[in-house]
């Protein structure tokens, strides 16, 4: 059974679109990443799943329970870290967690051990009696995550869990999240792309309130690299370079990206047919024509480039 099933979810803020017609499902134990620029609808989707507000249309089920019909039991099954980590800053860490253990309905006899457990897990022992107001950003973030973990939620929803942390803290939080996968279903949103490939099993890419891709990070990379690219940096008469290399068999297009130093040469982006390994051919051609070869390499698309590509392609479709 899927832990999360989302069907045609839409949310409008008056006439403004939050999200529109979003459908996806997350398997049990999976870590799902939400990727998208700011304002793409990640937080809106999460707020609907956590029953903060209902959708305008569509519905979703968390572990088989409908968010509209039985929001109370959905709220019992989830752990949620909202964006910007809201905290009662005038409370000490321990009392804060204690309070949330209480309103999550954890029985009094298990409360203490549960709070101690999340304090251990999020490494908050050293600050457990300090006021949250006096904690650093990293510790606050961990208090927020500890709160979300208190009731051993079946589904954990984390809205930008690593924003504003230093690199060491980011690594800590990521490994904490990775450790949760398998037993708990996790949804996390981010606009930091390497984070997704590092922590998530699958990725949802959202843009302007619409879901535009769902896949594993690896497949996403593969899918978009069907036309392999080669980057060439060479010095020589531009026209000649474009003409000569353009005629090599297997090359579908060559573009000049930016001019190099002086009149001649520059960066060229070459698209080749699938599975064609033409680096040698191109290099030979450059050498035979006595142009200066500065750099030649295959272009691996980073997730960043994929993301930008998907987003711009989608925009192209909309404008047509």
């Amino acid at each position: 059974m899927n832990a999360i099933e989302v069907e045609n979810l839409s949310k409008f803020y008056g006439p403004a679109r939050g999200i529109e017609d979003v459908s996806f499902s997350v398997k049990k134990g999976e870590i799902m990443g939400f990727l998208g620029p700011n304002g793409s609808g990640k937080t809106t989707t999460m707020r609907i799943l956590t029953c903060f507000f209902p959708p305008t249309g569509g519905t979703a089920r968390i572990c088989g329970t409908d968010i509209l019909n039985d929001s109370f039991s959905v709220r019992q099954k989830i752990g949620y870290l909202p964006e910007n980590v809201p905290l009662y800053t005038d409370m000490p860490v321990f009392s804060y967690l204690n309070f949330f253990a209480e309103i999550k309905g954890i029985p009094a006899r298990r409360k203490k051990s549960k709070v101690d457990e999340v304090i251990q897990r999020c490494e908050l022992q050293s600050v457990s009696h300090r006021l949250i107001r006096k904690l650093s950003k990293g510790f606050r973030q961990r208090v927020g995550i500890a709160q979300a973990l208190l009731n051993d939620p079946e589904v954990l929803i984390l809205d930008e869990p690593t924003v504003g942390l230093d690199p060491k803290q980011i690594i800590d939080i990521r490994s904490l999240i990775k450790g949760l996968g398998g037993s708990q279903t996790v949804i996390l949103s981010t606009h930091i792309l390497p984070e997704v490939s590092m922590t998530c099993d699958r990725v949802i890419i959202m843009h302007q309130g619409k879901l535009i891709a769902v896949d594993t990070p690896a497949d996403l990379t593969k899918r978009l690299q069907q036309t392999p690219k080669i980057i060439l940096k060479a010095e020589g008469p531009t026209g000649d370079i474009l003409r000569t290399i353009g005629t090599i068999e297997g090359i579908t297009s060559i573009d000049r990206r930016e001019p190099g130093s002086g009149k001649h040469g520059g960066f060229y982006e070459i698209e080749t047919e699938e599975n064609a390994d033409l680096i040698n051919e191109i290099a030979k051609s450059v050498y035979e024509n006595s142009w200066k070869l500065k750099e030649i390499r295959p272009l691996d698309m980073t997730l960043e480039e994929i993301f930008i590509k998907i987003v711009t392609e989608e925009e192209g479709v909309n404008n047509r």
């Binding site: 409008f12 707020r47 709220r75 989830i78 905290l87 800053t89 409370m91 309070f99």
Partner: protein
Amino acid sequence: MSWYFIMKREVNSYFTSLTAYIVLFIFLVISGYFFYTNLTMFVMMVGSDVKLGLWQYTFQDMRRFMLLLLPLLTMRLFSEEKKLGTIELLYTHPIRDMAIIMGKYLACLLVLVVMLALTFLYPILLNIVFSIELGPLVTGYFGLFLLGTAFIACGVFVSSLTENQIVAAMITVGILILFWSIDWNEGIAGTKVMTILHQFSLFEHFYNFPRGVIDISDVVYYLSVSFFFLFLTLCSLESRQWRGKK
């Protein structure tokens, strides 16, 4: 049970953040001053009824001051949560809106009870030198408490509308003063309208209590005002369910 946890947290918050201490301190000082001036006045005017009159005057002074002071207690209840964003945590936890409201409302009532209880020191001190009648004193305090429940319910509601605490306090004071002064202008309203307006005046229903009279209609009035505002608060919290729908 969850209302109890909310209440506990709110009471803790009042007493760790100094708000409650400051409000209690100011109330004690000012009501002590009222008590003192009223007492000296009655001592100088020999022959007047100290047993009844003194408390009537003191309670009338205290309730006016409560009108200004209680909004300072209620202003943070929802506004602060909205500002901090913690309201999102409450909404996404398995807890009913009504439990959130009741927890906060009762926490504030508890501070009110402490506030009123502390002023009980004055009659005790007076009783040492001059024996006083307990009846009107107790009913007077009961009236003040009922008045306070209505003030606080109004404050809770206004606080649920805004994330700005100062705005919440000012609007609450505004509404309370309106309810207080609603039956002041007899000349314009006319007698018929006036009898209706009298029924809506927050303070009109208070006069009986310090005289030692508990009129059930007064009690019902204050309880309905509280219910009314708490109901509005519930509507205000639940508005997130239908806001933004097409």
